[in-house]
Amino acid sequence: MFYIYCPYCQEHREEEEFHAAGQAHIARPADPDNCTDEEWGDYLYFRKNPRGLHHEMWVHAAGCRKFFNMTRDTQSYEIKEVYKMGEQPQIVSEQDSIARGTA
């Protein structure tokens, strides 16, 4: 049972109040109609399953109904940070930072 800090309610709440809403930072293609089937398939179906740091979306379903992002260690279940929609994570895995070119 996680204990999750809601960045909108600004305090920790029990996991029962939240729903997990999948991987974060998947942008909807700007022009879906001109995506190839493969690009659209990647957007729709392909998700990371990292051992370690993962960025995911949660929604405070039984609370303020706001979506937010969370960086979580999938091994230890430690929540490293939560941040609002539109914000970027402060904590990223080495692999991700290389991929982003910010390493």
Partner: protein, 229 residues
């Protein structure tokens, strides 16, 4: 899902720009004297139970029925919205997890862009009109007076009943008088506010009211439950 990719587009109303009045259908949802209104717990006949109910008991339950409930949505960073609401209500909108009480009106924070206003039923339409007259730009008001009800719990053992019902920490160090949270309550949800040391209000949805009434009777049984009509 996704990132916000074009945040710059979501700028609030620019100063000096003439914000439009939203075009909405406003309706007085209160009938005249003729039609009978039934609260969500009308079928439980709490008034009749109250007459037979033991005056002792660690928990006292009362349905504050048929009040006016308005949901107010708006951006707290929008100065014009905040000023307009403050002007009409006479107080500023409460910040996160706070309740403001002004006479018969209570204003509960629900979400960063949502407040619940509870007042006598007859004032709801008037207040909605006053707010709409004052406010411009992007906001919303929804009258949900028929969709929810208030259960007031008082007594020395209420905190224990709450501990059985919600995973939220109701200890006075975490939940002082004047605080409000929306949380899980049994297998439903409630807006829980503390109005006194031993006084709590639950705002619950109409369709779940009977379930929560059963739940509260059960959870209170060991302390003794008194019903107030």
């Amino acid at each position: 899902m996704s990132d916000v990719t074009n945040v710059e587009a979501s700028s609030p109303v620019q100063a000096g720009e003439q914000a439009a009045k939203p075009q909405v259908a406003v309706m007085n949802l209160l009938a005249g004297e003729g039609p009978r209104a039934d609260s969500p717990l009308a079928h439980a006949e709490l008034g009749a139970i109250a007459k037979q109910s033991d005056a002792k008991g660690g928990v006292c339950l009362q349905e504050l029925k048929l009040l006016g409930h308005l949901v107010l949505r708006g951006d707290p960073n929008n100065q014009s919205f905040v000023a307009g609401v403050t002007k009409v209500l006479g107080v500023a909108l409460p910040a996160a997890l706070k309740t403001e009480v002004i006479g018969e009106l209570s204003v509960h924070w629900v979400s960063p862009d949502e407040w619940l206003l509870i007042m006598p039923a007859k004032q709801a339409f008037q207040l909605e009109r006053e707010l709409r007259a004052e406010l411009t730009g992007h906001y919303a008001i929804v009258n949900v007076s028929g969709g929810q009800t208030v259960l007031r719990l008082t007594g020395p053992d209420v905190d224990k009943v709450l501990c059985k019902s919600t995973p939220y920490d109701v200890h006075e160090r975490n939940f002082p008088v004047g605080k409000v949270v929306t949380s899980v309550f049994a297998k439903s949800q409630a807006v829980i506010s503390r109005s006194g040391e031993e006084a709590w209000d639950l705002v619950v949805r109409r369709s779940f009211a009977d379930y929560l009434w059963l739940w509260l009777q059960d959870a209170s049984a060991e302390y003794g439950l008194q019903i107030k009509g």
